[in-house]
Structure formats: structure tokens, C-alpha cells
Point group: C2
Chain length 405, copies 2
């Protein structure tokens, strides 16, 4: 008898019919003799509906009250799933974040889980119950309701799997696993059978929207295997775990793309100590999240500094940078929000030379100009014109076909 944690996303529980389908999948796990804890997201657009309701009341609703409001979406879905299982004759019980013992700090809208007090869940499991936990929410030590922000339900599921010592955290959604590239862009893209945590982290950070980096980091920390699959079919999915077999490691795993890139260049910056801090500390204070930073080699103690942000933050970033540029004596500011990113990811490239060369050559053969390059040990990213991104992904997928195989 193993303990399984399953997490179902919003589209998987979008309608009463879908909830009944999910109940059948959950029951099947119970029938084969395993214990199961299920984490659910809010039904379909429920969270968006609550957000627009709040927008009709206040432009900037209080984060504390937003969390009370938003937490109801997952409560509804969890109660309905428990009802569906009860109706099928199974012992099932829904638990709120508070009841499930998911303790968080008090950063409303983006709370971090501090600990999981799993006694109640363990008691219900021991009594033969299927336990349904409302995802995305927790409770502070002062009994305040919090939500976990983006990727919150995934984080709930991984945290519970870690605390309960589950065999696996199955993440069930409307897409089959992780692909060698976005199947909507590259028809030949294939499902990846397994990935290491670092590989999945790089993919998630560089444009693969299947999972938020946060849940993957937590899974890596507690060494919880995540199985990503579809709740709409029985196709095999992707296992994300720590001990990827050696042979599989020696490959490029996936080509990722990200269209949401804007670039800002501060031109003619005096190259002296503290200049980077002078630019980026005020940006951080203004709540602007800077992604890639590149500083050109300095000529006559003058350099250019380029960084990227998401497009919705570009206007604000430019505004902030104008003030800063004056103070530090920079000559000019240039910006471009028609950019995208293409990345190749895989632990294989860590010890094998030539991946970067092959990537640049492939882009060059296709007359795609590279604006910026950033790399990690297991990833190479090129920032290019937005309208060439899909072409680049297709070309790279083809160029690295053997590795992706």
C-alpha cells in the first residue's frame, strides 16, 4: 500500500461532469489499495470570476480580504469532489487549507508554506477516507486565511506529498506531460518520459508554462517525484525526479520558448563600482522583476547595460530608469518590447561541448539575429525578435533531434 498525492487543475474540475470523471480516477487509485490525498484547484474560471467581482467593489482590494474571497473557489471544488465520491459509495472528506494543517506566513496573496501539520489528514487516511484538500490556501498561526499565489495548488500538493512521505505527487491537468517543444509550434514534438528537477526548473523559468518553478523547487528540496499527466486521457506522462538514469541525462531535453520579453538598454553608463546597484536596487524597490542582465565590455570606462523584463512591466521600468539614468550620468535609454526567448535545456550539455555552437549556427543558418545570450550549466537561451521565435524553435528542435529522441 502506497500513499499517492494527486493534484487536479481548474480545467480538470471545470464542470459537475468533469468532477464526476475525476472522482472515478481517484476511486480507481483507492480500489487498487493505495491511500490517496487529492488537491484541487477552483473550478474553471471561478477564481477569475471572483477577481472581477472584487474589481467591481474596489480598485485595489485589500490583500487579506482577497484571500478570504479567493479561498472559497477551492473550498467549493473540494466539497463537490468529496460529494461525488460519497455518492459513488466511497468514504471521502474535504478539508480546507486550515483543516489540512497547511500553515503559512502572513504574506497575503503570495504566502509561503511554513509547515504542514498533517495529523488530521493522517487520521482520516487511517480511517480509510479519501482526503480532498482545497489547494492554493493555507492558514497563519493567527487563524488568518492566506492564498499561495501563482502555482499555489501545485505547491500545496508537493508540500503535502513531502510532509506525508507520499510515493509520488501526480499532477493532472489538461496537457500530457512535458514535450520536447511546445506541440502547438513543433508538430514533431514528443513527450519526454523523465526529467531531472534542475531541467524542469530551467524549462519552467524559460517559458514552459506547465508548472511554476516554485513547486518544482519544493519537490527537489523534499525529493518528491512529480508525475505530470493529463486528467482527460490515460496517456503516459512525464516523471520529474532526482535520479534520472545516466543514459537519459546525456541529452537535450526540451526546447522552450517565451514570447513575453521586453529589453531595456541604458546607453553610455560610466563604468565604475556600484553602478549596477545604482540601477537595479531602485528597480527592485519599484517592484520590477528583472530577468536577464548583460553588461557590455567597457570602452574608455563607458559601457552599455541591457536587461529584460516582462512586457507588462516595461513602461514602468522605463519610467524608473529615466530617473536613475539622470543621476548616474548615462547618455540614453533604448527599449524594445518585440522580443522573445528560445532556450535549449538538458543536463546532457553540462559535460558535452558544442551545444552552444550548434545552437548559434542553427539560428544563423536561418538568418535569425541573436540580441542577447544567457546560459546556465544546463541551459542556453537566445533572445531574438518575437516574430522569429516559432521558426527558431522548429529549427532547433530539428537540429537537436537526435538528443531529443
Amino acid at each position: 500500500m502506497a500513499l499517492i498525492v494527486q493534484k487536479y487543475g481548474g480545467t480538470s474540475v471545470a464542470t459537475p461532469e468533469r468532477i464526476k470523471e475525476v472522482a472515478k480516477r481517484v476511486a480507481a487509485v483507492h480500489d487498487r489499495g493505495d491511500q490517496i490525498v487529492v488537491v484541487v484547484s477552483a473550478m474553471g474560471d471561478a477564481t477569475d470570476d471572483l477577481i472581477s467581482l472584487a474589481a467591481k467593489i474596489a480598485e485595489k482590494p485589500s490583500p487579506r480580504e482577497m484571500d478570504v474571497l479567493l479561498s472559497t473557489g477551492e473550498l467549493v471544488a473540494s466539497a463537490l469532489l468529496a460529494m461525488a465520491l460519497n455518492h459513488m459509495g466511497y468514504k471521502a472528506i474535504s478539508l480546507s487549507g486550515a483543516q489540512a494543517g497547511i500553515k503559512t506566513d502572513s504574506s497575503f496573496r503570495k504566502a509561503r508554506i511554513s509547515k504542514v501539520e498533517a495529523r488530521r489528514i493522517q487520521k482520516e487516511l487511517a480511517e480509510g477516507y479519501i482526503v480532498i484538500v482545497a489547494g492554493f490556501q493555507g492558514i497563519t498561526d493567527d487563524m488568518e486565511i492566506t492564498t499561495l499565489g501563482r502555482g499555489g495548488s501545485d505547491t500545496s500538493a508537493v508540500a503535502l506529498a513531502g510532509a506525508l512521505g507520499a510515493k509520488v505527487c501526480e499532477r493532472l491537468t489538461d496537457t500530457d506531460g512535458i514535450y520536447t517543444a511546445d506541440p502547438r509550434v513543433v508538430k514533431e514534438a514528443k513527450r519526454v518520459a523523465e526529467l531531472g528537477y534542475e531541467e524542469m526548473l530551467e524549462l519552467a523559468t524559460y517559458g514552459n508554462k506547465v508548472m511554476q518553478p516554485r513547486a518544482i523547487e519544493l519537490a527537489q528540496l523534499y525529493n518528491v517525484p512529480i508525475y505530470v499527466a493529463s486528467s482527460f486521457n490515460n496517456n503516459p506522462g512525464t516523471l520529474i525526479h532526482g535520479d534520472v538514469s545516466m543514459e537519459v541525462r546525456n541529452k537535450v531535453k526540451s526546447v522552450a520558448l517565451d514570447m513575453d520579453v521586453a529589453k531595456i538598454t541604458v546607453v553610455g553608463v560610466p563604468d565604475k563600482p556600484g553602478i549596477a546597484a545604482a540601477i537595479f536596487v531602485p528597480l527592485a524597490k519599484a517592484g520590477i522583476s528583472v530577468d536577464t542582465i548583460v553588461q557590455n565590455a567597457s570602452i574608455n570606462k563607458i559601457t552599455d547595460l541591457t536587461f529584460t523584463v516582462t512586457r507588462d512591466q516595461m513602461a514602468e521600468a522605463v519610467k524608473a530608469i529615466k530617473l536613475i539614468a539622470r543621476k548616474i550620468g548615462a547618455k540614453d535609454i533604448a527599449s524594445d518590447n518585440k522580443l522573445g526567448k528560445v532556450s535549449i535545456v538538458g543536463t546532457g550539455m553540462q559535460n558535452t561541448p558544442g551545444f552552444a555552437a550548434r545552437m548559434f549556427a542553427t539560428l544563423n543558418e536561418n538568418n535569425i539575429n541573436i540580441e542577447l545570450i544567457t546560459t546556465s550549466e544546463i541551459r542556453i537561451t537566445c533572445i531574438i525578435a518575437e516574430d522569429r521565435v516559432k521558426e527558431a524553435v522548429k529549427a532547433l528542435h530539428k537540429a537537436f533531434e537526435v538528443e531529443l529522441g
Copy 2:
């Protein structure tokens, strides 16, 4: 500085616009220097929508899960009202039943409040907050979410007012106070300025739908004055309290009607000890709630026994009675579900003779046949044909006009 508890019903908070209107009314209380705790119901049809969602999942949803589901309606309304007040610049905080310390037994769907642990509310009030409490819900000692059943939010409000020692519990809804008769039936009906608890209880039990008897009983127990008024205007309402002035007591307060009456007569019952128990114990066990019971004078040790039930329970009651009638040797069963009740209520009739005679004479003058009569110290009820009820209410309102004045 006084402490006021206000309760707003579903129509009062049905839309974001209505919630903003309610926020203004609440703010006005705070502005005049009083402390205020607000209890809210779910928005408009929210509870009905949740019930129909559950009906799509299971025919008989688990009561525990229904309570998790239904409790979300009041959470949403309370968070939105707190947001509206925050947006207006007021310190306001929403609390769930659990956070507000509303402890109940574990009878899901119809929980009874066992105690109110008001520390959290008192702390927030002391810090200058307007406290918004989600009505209709509580929590058991095992942290299980419960709902209070019919009239639940009224009960929450009265219980909080009692526990906090509030000056008054203001119940704000879409109707102005209590009238001398239903204004839809009797155009001349006037608002009653004040009523005793017993009078309101009799009215509520005999057809006035403004409040459930349960909340009134609780108010009487803790001597909490209830002020019933409209949230849609500033018209004066009705004060329900214990110390109604002597002069006001000497009157008929209101004429009530109830269309939901069915009558069953067990004909030719042997009149011997234990016969009433033989009939009514099995009915109670079948979950049938019997209202009025009348036993005719016995002739030759044979009598007729008549009782009334609500219409939706008639078929079940007749079925149960058929089995019982055979056992006790009754001759026949007769039933009629086309009946209604008309009642006059007022502590005035307690010490003054002639009210009953005048009521019967008025009905007789209008050729309305009386099927059954039941009385309490402060109420006289006649059960008559359904299609004569409105006529009877108008005639009685006219006949008792001086007292109603």
C-alpha cells in the same frame, strides 16, 4: 459609544452596487462613534446556485460537504463588504464563523450554536475595526464547518449581539419592519412600531415570514432588542423587545396569514387512553411535523382526531396514518390540502375578553366557514378555506382597526 450588531439579508447584498450601499450605511454607524459588528448573508441567489451545483453531483449530497459548500456564500459576501469599507478608507475586517468564534454542535445543515467565543471580535473592535462576520455558519470543537439552517444568519446576529452585550441587533432586509397585516393583501396595513418577543414569536409561527421563530426565541432568552427595518430606505422599522409599554400592550398587533396548511382527520377513533400517543409518536418518527391538533368531544367512546401539517408533508402523513388507523381500529381517514390559517396576535387580548367573539362574528358576517380553531394566550387562529384567507385578513384588519391603530 454603543455597540450595534447589524444583519443584512441576501437581497441587501445581492450585487456589488448593493454592497457599496450597505457599506455606506455601516460607515454611518461608525461615523457617529458607535462600534459595529455586521453579519451578512450570501449574495442574492448564491446559496441556491450552490445547492443546484451540488444537485448535479449527487442526489443526496453529504450534509457535511454541503456545509463546506454553502459556507462559501457568506464568506464571499463578508470579504466583499470589508473590501468596500476598506476602499472608503475605513478599517474593516471580515471574519468567518470559525474566526468569529461561533461554536456549534455537529448537526450539519441545522447546527445549533453552543457558545460564542468573542475574543477575536472584541480585539478587532478595540483596535477600531468594523467587524464583518459571515452569517449562517459556525465551527465545531473538531474544526468542522457547519451551517445553521433556516434563519441561520438571523440566529448568528442575535447570538453575537447577546454574547457581545450589544445595545441592539438591527435586522436589515428588503421589507420595512412588521405590519398590522401583509401589505400585499391589506392595502391599509400599517407598520407596527414595537412588539413583544411573544407577539413576534406567535406572528412568525403563524405565517409572518419576516423572521424565523428560532432567532426570536434566542433574542428573548438573552433579552436582545431586535430592530427590523429596510436596507433600501430610511423608513422607521419595528422594535421587537421585552419591555413593551403598557399602553401599547393593550392591543391586537397584527393579523397573520399562512396558506401552507393541510388537514387530516382520523374518523371514528376509539376514545381510550394512549390513543393520541399511538397516532402522533409514529408520525414524529417519520419526520412529520404536526401543527394544530384538535380532538372532538367523544360520543359513545368514539371520537374524531384532526391535525394539520404543511402541504408538502401531507402525502407522507396520509401514508403513515393509514398504517396507524388500521392498528388502532379507526373507521376512516379524510384529508384536505386547500386550507389556510388566519390569526390575530397581541398581548392585549390576554386580559381583555371579546376578541375571539369578535373574530368569529367577523368571519361569520363574511360567510367564511371556520374549520378549526386554536388559541394561545396572545393569539387566536382560525383555519379556513384557502380561497377565503385574503378576504378574511382584510375583514379582520378592518374589524380590529382601532386596536391596530
